[in-house]
Amino acid sequence: MELKELYKEVILDHYQNPRNYGEIPYAYSSEGINPLCKSEGENPICGDAIYIQFLVKDNRLEDIRFTGTGCTISQASASIMTELVKGKSLEDVKTLIIRFKRIMEGEEDFTEDLGDLLAFEGVRKLPARIKCALLAWEVLLEGIKKYLERQVERVNV
């Protein structure tokens, strides 16, 4: 494989200029109804780390930000993800996450509608790096799951 295919300009751009990078301002998230959600994860083998904060309103991801350290792939993937999921309904976000996981694991194909995600076609050929590409997505999925569990608990109280 050509390095070009792997380290596409899109990926390097997101790595060097990450979108939605940082934390959600406290003031913005302090209303009681949609509290700030946090989720974090690491890839212990690489030392990649991703921290995500998001706000849910009317079952939509109203805002999402991330910080992290790690390799190009993991950080670029997080940046692209935040752009793609912001504003979407939780259902749609979950569907996208699961779809991207399936694609990276070779069970589905890339399609044109995936936008910047298409840049990961090269990464898919490198099994050792698939985990890097998926890290942010796993962290967000975990976060959404925890959010939904809390909602259920709240209803049950």
């Binding site: 494989m1 050509e2 390095l3 070009k4 295919e5 792997l6 380290y7 596409k8 300009e9 390097l12 751009d13 212990p44 083998i45 690489c46 030392g47 990649d48 780390a49 350290t69 790690g70 390799c71 190009t72 792939i73 490198l126 050792a128 790096r129 890097c132």
Partner: protein
């Protein structure tokens, strides 16, 4: 004369292509490649005399047992142990160290006792002691590093007390390449009556070693890091210490007698080898030792110094490359870890892999050391007997091209 090109011919894998390029294998600290003689010995065993050991009266069982035990003798000679009964076969360094923790530590250490380790230990020589410390109320102390990446031996002298019962030190750091001063450590430890465990995983493969003159109490190492098969390790222990130890695994082969109410352990070293061992692996390991002996450990040691000197010099010339560990060649082995600009080690390793170069990226099972260094991960190049100067040149060239990728978007 040390003829590296002739040596390379003995290693089938060195003819492989990776991503269309010739394989340049620089991940020897993770595991080394195997010469054909080792690979063939394993196949021969399975094709001609595969049988369980120590149990059979029939001819295959006898031959298998003889070959298995012959490796024990070879290992004893290789490290100049007093007797082959001091050689216990395990599945690797990790099991060897755990055997010391469970079989010796759990039996003899008591609340308030202290264990001294170093911050450069591999997780294998930290985690078992943390587990034991929690269970028994022991205290773990860590010898810090000096700026050059060597042990701060003065600190060690101030950490060691009458309460110290064990000092566990890696022979060679698997990240920094630092070779530790075992003699000083043994002297100080023995002067307070503490035992010394050496994690020899990275040292035994390249440093000619005499356990008797080093006077260490325990030495652990792995076959797969010295041309041998995976799944085989060694614990050397002084005979009288082993005699007092409990086994880690209860089962077949390690007992003299079992009744419903009780068991009597077998003699050393069989007591520690419960269950069917990795017979093929141990037999293959014998051939690995033969191979190293044929080259001569002194020669290997010299060649590695030569190559390491060359690599350090070349790598130091790369702009933006930070090398961890000592620069003084007399204090280090052929393991060189570094970071290159702000490019994540994983990206470096992936890009080099596209050129057929295998290096390691990550924390190398030494997270505490990486914390001390203040980095999440590093790149590691580790050299062994078949590596060449040309390979190092190619590595350096390829490293220099990485910057381009990042500048141009490939």
């Amino acid at each position: 004369m040390y003829d590296v090109y002739k040596i390379r011919d003995d290693f089938p894998i060195l003819k492989e292509k990776v991503n269309g390029k010739n394989l340049v294998y620089l991940d020897n600290a993770a595991t080394t490649q195997k010469p054909l003689s080792v690979i063939d010995a394993i196949a021969d065993y399975y094709k001609h005399y595969n049988a369980n050991v120590h149990r059979g009266v029939h001819s295959l069982g006898v031959i298998a047992t003889q070959e298995y035990e012959r490796t024990r003798k070879k290992v004893a000679n290789f490290i100049k142990a007093e007797d082959s009964s001091c050689i216990v076969f395990t599945k690797g360094t990790t099991e060897s160290i755990n055997l010391v923790a469970y079989g010796w530590g759990r039996k003899f250490l008591k609340e308030g006792d202290e264990i001294i380790l170093t911050v450069m230990e591999h997780h294998s020589n930290i985690v078992p002691w943390q587990i034991l410390a929690r269970e028994k109320g022991l205290k773990l102390k860590f010898i810090p590093l000096k700026d050059d990446g060597t042990l701060d031996i003065e600190s060690f002298y101030s950490l060691i007390t009458g309460k110290t019962k064990l000092v566990g030190v890696t022979y060679v750091s698997n990240v920094l390449g630092t070779v530790n001063p075992i003699d000083n450590i043994v002297d100080a430890a023995h002067s307070v009556g503490a035992r010394v465990l050496i994690d020899g995983a990275q040292g035994i493969p390249t440093i000619p070693t005499n356990v008797k003159s080093l006077n260490v109490d325990f030495l652990a190492f792995s076959a797969h890091k010295m041309l041998g098969p995976t799944g085989v390790g060694v614990l050397y222990g002084k005979r009288e210490i082993l005699e007092d130890m409990e086994p880690l695994l209860g089962g077949g082969e390690m007992i003299k007698k079992v009744s419903i109410t009780d068991s009597v352990w077998a003699d050393v070293p069989y007591r520690f080898e419960g269950g069917t061992p990795n017979i093929a692996g141990v037999i293959g390991f014998g051939k690995a030792i033969d191979y190293l002996n044929n080259l001569g450990m002194e020669e290997i040691f010299k060649y590695e110094k030569l190559l390491t000197t060359y690599a350090l010099e070349k790598l130091s010339g790369i702009d933006g490359l930070t090398i961890y560990g000592p620069r003084d060649i007399s204090l280090r082995s052929g393991i060189i870890s570094f970071n290159y600009r702000d490019i994540h080690p994983h990206d470096v390793a992936t890009i080099l892999d596209q050129s057929g170069i295998a290096i390691r990226a990550g924390h190398h099972c030494a997270q505490p050391l990486h914390s001390v260094l203040g980095i999440p991960a590093s790149c590691r190049v580790s050299l062994y007997i078949y590596n060449t100067k040309e390979e190092i040149d190619y590595l350096v060239e390829s490293l220099e091209r990485i910057e381009e990728v990042f500048r141009s978007g490939a």
